[in-house]
Symmetry: C2
Subunit: 264 residues, 2 copies
């Protein structure tokens, strides 16, 4: 039987609140066994960009990453956010190690080709772009990776990359070595029937049910890439995927209170 591995993606809203983040990191530290944390960036980069006069340019809900912006997100995600999390985890007896995708060639990406829109320094990743040997070696030494959403292209360029996708591709890469459980943690209780009612979470979501809800526009926009990634990973050998509230992570891991949506 394979050993369990928890891969936990934490979103922007929890990162933006120091108090919420500290509580979440305590819960993460308390999980027994092997674990990987993947974090997004949140509003901190946008706020810092304002101070530096770097304008946030969004096209169709996506950030355009020019040369000044990739420097900004590298500083913020790989520097400030990642190192503060790692230092906090160290103080909670979790031997964390921070990663961008460039470190140890952890995640190689392809700079998104210019079609109608030039997204700039944005990286797309595919299965097979993970240095899983290094991750297995570190986990074997009880060192837990904390991964920020910056990758590299092997030609010296750092690339801004979606953190949900990083978590999914990591989970697929690790599935041959571990019984891998992927958690997308955010501020809601899971996939909700009614976005305004946190108690309306769907305990188990099948691909058919998802397609049906998507057809009826019952799934809101930000959730679609998360769920598309989730279903893809389950089909590629990941043991289970949950979408849940960051503060229900411990309950789900310990099978105490299954509040959240399990993807099946």
């Amino acid at each position: 039987m394979k050993e369990k591995l928890y891969i936990i993606k934490i979103g922007g809203n929890v990162i933006d609140s120091p108090k919420a983040l500290d509580r979440f990191l305590s819960d993460f530290s308390a999980i027994k066994g092997k674990k990987i944390l993947v974090h997004g960036g949140g509003k901190i980069a946008t706020e810092l960009g304002k101070k530096l006069g770097i304008e946030t340019k969004m096209v169709e809900g996506r950030r355009i990453t020019d040369a000044a912006t990739i420097d900004l997100v590298t500083m913020t995600y790989a520097g400030l956010i990642n190192k503060k999390m790692v230092a906090a985890l160290q103080s909670k007896n979790c031997n964390a190690i921070g990663f961008s995708g460039a470190d140890g060639n952890l995640i190689r990406a392809v700079k998104r080709p210019v079609k109608t829109i030039d997204y700039g320094f944005v990286g797309d990743i595919e299965d097979g772009s993970i240095n899983s040997t290094l991750v297995v070696s570190l986990l074997g030494q009880e060192v837990m990776p904390v991964v920020c959403p910056i990758t590299h292209d092997g030609n010296g360029n750092l690339l801004n990359t979606n953190a949900d996708t990083i978590a999914a591709v990591l989970a697929v890469a690790m599935a041959s070595s571990y019984e891998t459980r992927l958690f997308y943690c955010f501020e809601k209780n899971g996939v909700l029937r009614d976005v305004n009612d946190d108690s309306s979470f769907i305990p188990e979501l099948s691909q058919n049910h998802y397609e049906e809800m998507k057809g009826k526009k019952q799934i809101y926009e930000g959730m679609i890439p998360k769920l598309d990634n989730a279903f893809l990973t389950v089909s590629k050998g990941v043991h289970s995927v949950y979408i849940c509230n960051a503060f229900h992570l411990s309950s789900i891991v310990n099978n105490a209170q299954p509040i959240g949506t399990r993807i099946s």
Copy 2:
């Protein structure tokens, strides 16, 4: 016979010039065998601080690191500078991995006690504060650490730490596993008899000679902590220490042109 390990400290002036840095990183990549890069910060943090309205406060030549400043140097050193170097090294076929002292508990420091001056988030390190097990494991996998001058105290605080000292303490920690050679690289040709004449470098400097020169005020101020660190490491089992021009590193490593000062 122990395997060789090169620990190379690169200073601010080379980092401040993208062209010089690229050339140096090519030379670093080309060194055969195990190696660790330790880098300083240089003027980038000060420039960024100006834009963010974070004033640089110096007392007796040392930076006072308040809460805003530790965020600034963490972003700059651990984020921007470290990740750009790692991505560049990856493109030059060197499997580099970036580190702050918090990552993998690599370097634990003590927040400098307040006596007459409160230096803020500044860390002092001692021998024995290095997680050498992790370094040995990574080097064994041909993964080369790139270390920025940020450490942690184990209580969740990141600390600004002198990069020369980090290089020295790392060298001492690795000396039991490797035949460790420490290089302090900067823009001059070594310890100079005449600071304005780059050809006046002293090929070999003994402790007695150093003390004599120091007594006669022939050693300029910035060199003293480098040399104090250098002599200390030699006395603690480090095979050799060189103070040299960043662009003579290859020559010295390959025993071609011994331009630079060897500490003996």
